[in-house]
Symmetry: C2
Subunit: 309 residues, 2 copies
């Protein structure tokens, strides 16, 4: 039937909020909570009922009142707070990109469902979505084909990425200096310098910063296709990044410097300079991905499940 992950997530969120309240303080109204937790009042009521049952809140004379602070054991495990679909997405990405899975192999929906502990319906829905990442191909009335993160794939995705990012810089430099994206760029630049100053310790923070820089640029494009495509890139790189950890600090340092050059070019608002710096950085990133593909995913835990040839 239907999992109650929304309830569990809301319950946990609610507990976190209550931790800041004083004992005996009155809780906000149901509609209020519904709005802050971004769920329906129906769910809020279920949460409140459950909290009352656990004895964390109780009905005082004028509304609900906090009886005791929540402890660690009151929370639901984090794993259970992802919706079935989101859970499948994560497990699937890890399985396909970090596991022992080769281009050209066929996927079996029933097998995956068993392994991930969900129904085939959920698996199917997710696989269908995943087609658009370009890694899966559906063969009607038959299995799914994994096309693999091959050199061809890298070329294709980077060709599009370059077009889109260059285009996005055009809209970026149209914005006034005091617009939110430029403010964000200031912050990003500052973080770059901070990170470079302490690169030996913190070089692992690079991917998160990289994502932030490229995303703020893409988002100014105001183009849903460009932004959606960046979501694909972002997800993908989150996983392929782990394939090759050799020279990681060295590579991140280079990329950070390229970012600073790129940012400087953006500030100059000189299209030619921007194109040059952007292209240069993406060339480096493309080469990094190409190397990662040579390495391939770690073979730490080969799983023979759901595989056929």
């Amino acid at each position: 039937m239907k999992g109650n992950t929304v309830f569990k997530r809301s319950y946990n969120q609610c507990l976190r909020r209550l931790a800041a309240h004083d004992i005996g303080a009155a809780l906000p109204s149901e509609s209020d909570l519904a709005h802050t937790l971004d769920v329906s009042r129906t769910t809020v009521r279920a949460v409140l009922a459950s909290l009352a049952e656990t004895g964390i809140v109780s009905l005082g004379t004028s509304g609900r009142v906090l009886v005791r602070h929540p402890v660690e054991a009151d929370y639901f495990p984090d794993m259970q707070t992802l919706s079935a679909g989101a859970a499948v997405e994560r497990r699937f990405m890890e399985w396909i990109l970090l596991g022992d899975f080769r281009a050209g192999q066929l996927l079996n929906a029933a097998e995956l469902a068993r392994q991930f502990g969900t129904s085939t319906t959920t698996i199917r829905e997710y696989l269908a979505q995943f087609q658009h990442v370009g890694l899966l191909e559906r063969r009607p009335n038959s299995a799914w084909l994994y096309k693999g993160v091959t050199p061809d794939f890298a070329t294709e995705i980077y060709d599009v990425r370059e077009m889109f990012e260059l285009r996005a810089t055009r809209s970026f430099i149209e914005l006034p200096d005091d617009s939110p994206p430029w403010r964000e760029l200031d912050a990003i630049e500052a973080e770059h310098r901070a990170l470079l100053a302490n690169i030996d310790e913190e070089y692992r923070r690079f991917p998160q910063l990289d994502e932030r820089l490229h995303r703020v640029i893409h988002e100014t494009s105001n183009n849903r296709f460009i932004i959606d495509f960046y979501d694909v890139i972002s997800t993908l790189f989150h996983y392929t990044y782990r394939w090759n950890r050799s020279d990681e600090q060295q590579r991140n340092t280079v990329a950070l410097m390229e970012h600073l050059d790129y940012i400087e070019a953006l500030r100059s608002r000189d299209q030619r300079a921007i194109d040059a710096r952007c292209r240069k950085h993406l060339r480096t990133a493309r080469a990094t991905l190409a190397r990662s593909i040579e390495f391939g995913p770690f073979r730490s835990q080969p799983s023979p499940v759901g595989v056929s040839t």
Copy 2:
């Protein structure tokens, strides 16, 4: 449960082939048929069994033999030969793009299922696919939002289209003159001239020719993202084309001429000329879409309410 559309489609295909056979002639082997119809032998056997039952073939001394030629009544209606998913796709596109449906409206899966005569599962799977066309937005645990074919949408889709098509011309002109895409271009050009010579009668054939030209160019890109995107464009335009039929012949004539210029530029392999002609044509096409949006879909199915003006 599961529709038998594969069976019906194969049955019809089989009948079409038999029409060319002589009475008494032996049929090909099962595996042979399975290969030519591109289905499994299981399906072929079901078709053959059904044909035997209808008396169209019978088991002679040495294999199956054609008894009588099929007549019109033997075929299944074409409508039934689309898989549930494909049928929903078509009905949905017609409903959303040709029907009275406004940007910002919410879609109700159960309602759609009832209206289309399928299950909610099928509807859901299709709606999920449809997100990436950029016209629908999913709101978890709630309805789907139709974002509408708005001027913004037109701008966004054409911005990407222009980038992609220009990029595709780069790979196109790399190919040798005698490669299949250039052969196809020759054929397309010839059809353009033939159509222009008889434009008064045949101007309605333009969309099909337009699709052929742009597709052959996009496909040489060898980039799955570019090709997938052209599928989106192609589907979309197939429907929005019907929104505005004023000056149709005039508009098609202009577009055909622009195509010929574009083709000429491609032959010259001069990038600058190609860019100019391609951009010019896409500008025209973009303006046509913009005009269509002004007209909107509210013409094909006049509302049953009130009197005509």
